[in-house]
């Protein structure tokens, strides 16, 4: 069955450093992968989408890579700030119909 794993449940990092979050998947070759941010008590908010033929995508301080051979995506936040503290979710279209399957998320805490 399809499986999506995010490397750790929680990640603490010092302000100003780069946070790196990992998303691994098995048993499928998705055409694209998405990253979302979720704050406590709120719905997820879309951040970035990367397609299978794109190796890297950037948006301001965010960078996503997508390695279809390793079946892995890395999500980087450079110059992290306390306001970046949230849970980050990766999501993949696992059935070709834009029905997204989500990982369980990594809770990032940026320490001032």
């Amino acid at each position: 069955s399809q499986k999506i794993e995010q490397n750790s449940e929680a990640l603490n990092i010092q302000e100003g450093k780069t946070a790196t979050l990992t998303c691994n998947y098995t048993n499928y070759s998705p055409a694209y992968l998405q990253w979302y941010r979720q704050d406590p008590g709120r719905g997820p908010v879309f951040l970035l989408l990367i397609r299978e033929n794109e190796k890297e995508k950037r948006k301001e301080r965010l960078k996503v890579t997508f390695d279809t051979t390793l079946k892995q995506s890395l999500f980087h936040i450079t110059a992290s700030q306390p306001a970046d503290s949230a849970t980050y979710l990766c999501a993949l279209d696992m059935d070709g119909a834009n029905n997204l399957f989500f990982g369980t998320g990594t809770r990032l805490t940026v320490i001032p």
Partner: protein, 115 residues
């Protein structure tokens, strides 16, 4: 912010009672989704809709039904609520679907507790 409203935002009910959650959108998006979010499981797709009166099952559809009689409204019904359906339910909308990559816009969630 995308115009998505979920109601009720919080509900406590008893086992065996029917419950309906409503999702209302003002974006005129074709695709609407219901997810549930539980600790350790992440977001799981319950049902989705690709148009008025067009719906299909997701990953965890047992015990749930949906209806979409208008573009703007997508209803999720628990015919006879069980304690295992205690969860936070999220509605999402998208202008893309059926193989076209598109972002989802989520509502604020409906927290349901079944005693």
């Amino acid at each position: 912010d995308a115009g998505i409203t979920q109601s009720p935002r919080h509900k406590v009910t008893e086992t065996g009672t029917p419950v309906t959650l409503r999702c209302h959108q003002t974006e005129n998006h074709r695709y609407m989704y219901w997810y549930r979010q539980d600790p350790g499981h992440g977001l799981r797709l319950i049902h989705y809709s690709y148009g008025v009166k067009d719906t299909d099952k997701g990953e965890v559809s047992d015990g749930y039904s949906v209806s979409r009689s208008k573009t703007e409204d997508f209803l999720l019904t628990l015919e006879s609520a069980t304690s295992s359906q205690t969860s936070v339910y999220f509605c999402a909308i998208s202008s893309s679907g059926q193989g076209a990559a598109g972002e989802l816009f989520f509502g604020e969630g409906s927290r349901l507790t079944v005693l």
